[in-house]
Symmetry: C2
């Protein structure tokens, strides 16, 4: 079984980018950490920029696949919303480097170079869920984008706080966070 070099490069790049930033991480160090040669890295990724972007897409897709795996088709809208919120926080806590990388990209100029369609596909499901909840009068009639933005920012806030706590102290905080959020978007 041939080693998946591309995955090794992803893993090393993630680790180094989060620790040292894009600037502080030369491609040579990524290759070395991944146990491949300099040339191999550029065989899989045409440029460093491409590696940065593809890593972002891969990580984001992993998160989305995880969330999708937790949602059952016959769950009610309330349950779906709750699951998306809670499992997002859990995933972030379990994959802190990956979550941190998403944020790092999101607040960097690289985000503007990731194609619109990729970004759009990633939020479509969530926006549809919010629309459904609005249509069923489950949540207040606020702009969908606003509800989404509030959810994302609150998930980040709760994650940041929970991450500072011991593992066994986290659940009550996350649950409290969700009920506060729920109260906020329902009448």
């Amino acid at each position: 079984m041939p080693m998946d070099k591309q995955q090794q490069i992803f893993d090393s790049a993630l680790k180094l980018f989060v620790e040292f930033g894009f600037h502080g991480t030369p491609t040579s160090k990524i290759a070395k950490e991944a146990g491949v040669s300099n040339g191999t890295l550029f065989h899989y990724f045409g440029t460093k920029e491409e590696l940065i972007k593809e890593l972002y897409v891969a990580v984001k897709e992993e998160l989305n696949r995880f969330l999708a795996s937790k949602i059952k088709a016959n769950d009610s809208v309330e349950i779906k919303l709750k699951k998306v919120y809670l499992y997002s926080v859990y995933w972030a806590l379990e994959h802190q480097e990956k979550f941190h990388y998403i944020q790092q990209i999101h607040f960097s100029p690289h985000i503007s170079q990731i194609s619109e369609s990729v970004l759009h596909d990633q939020v479509q499901t969530h926006l549809a869920l919010i629309d459904e909840a609005k249509a069923q009068n489950i949540i207040k009639n606020l702009p969908t984008d606003l509800v989404y933005m509030l959810a994302m920012s609150q998930i980040t806030g709760i994650y940041n706080y929970a991450a500072t706590l011991a593992v066994n102290k986290r659940k009550p905080v996350i649950d409290t966070g969700y009920s506060m959020f729920w109260d906020m978007i329902t009448e």
Copy 2:
């Protein structure tokens, strides 16, 4: 007027860092944009890293001075909290580049190189305000850090959404955001 040049360097660095990132912005371009020589930049800032950090501190202090100027000593705690929240969003919308720079630093490895004391001083006032509100039973008895984190993340979320709207459509959204936040932290 030597202060002029330092300020010009700050202005140019802010603009370029936000547009191209730290990596994508050579010191030579900052100097050129500021209309000073390469050497002059290094006369004011020993290293590029120092420039990045001092710019962050300067921007953060500007925000804090602005907020402090809006708070009157005899305002009630409710009023103070409301003012901090609302004026933070207003300031962010009026100084989007600066707000973006704060975020960029916050989600980058540079944050760990900014001394603890600088960071601590900057939030002390806000934490004290939350403690006061708790002591007076105005808000729920939640951990101070949690309330602070939720406020910060919600301010960011509301800012991000409001920034996409026409200037005259923003106020109602921001006000709604605040009342949602207030409902969230009060019984």
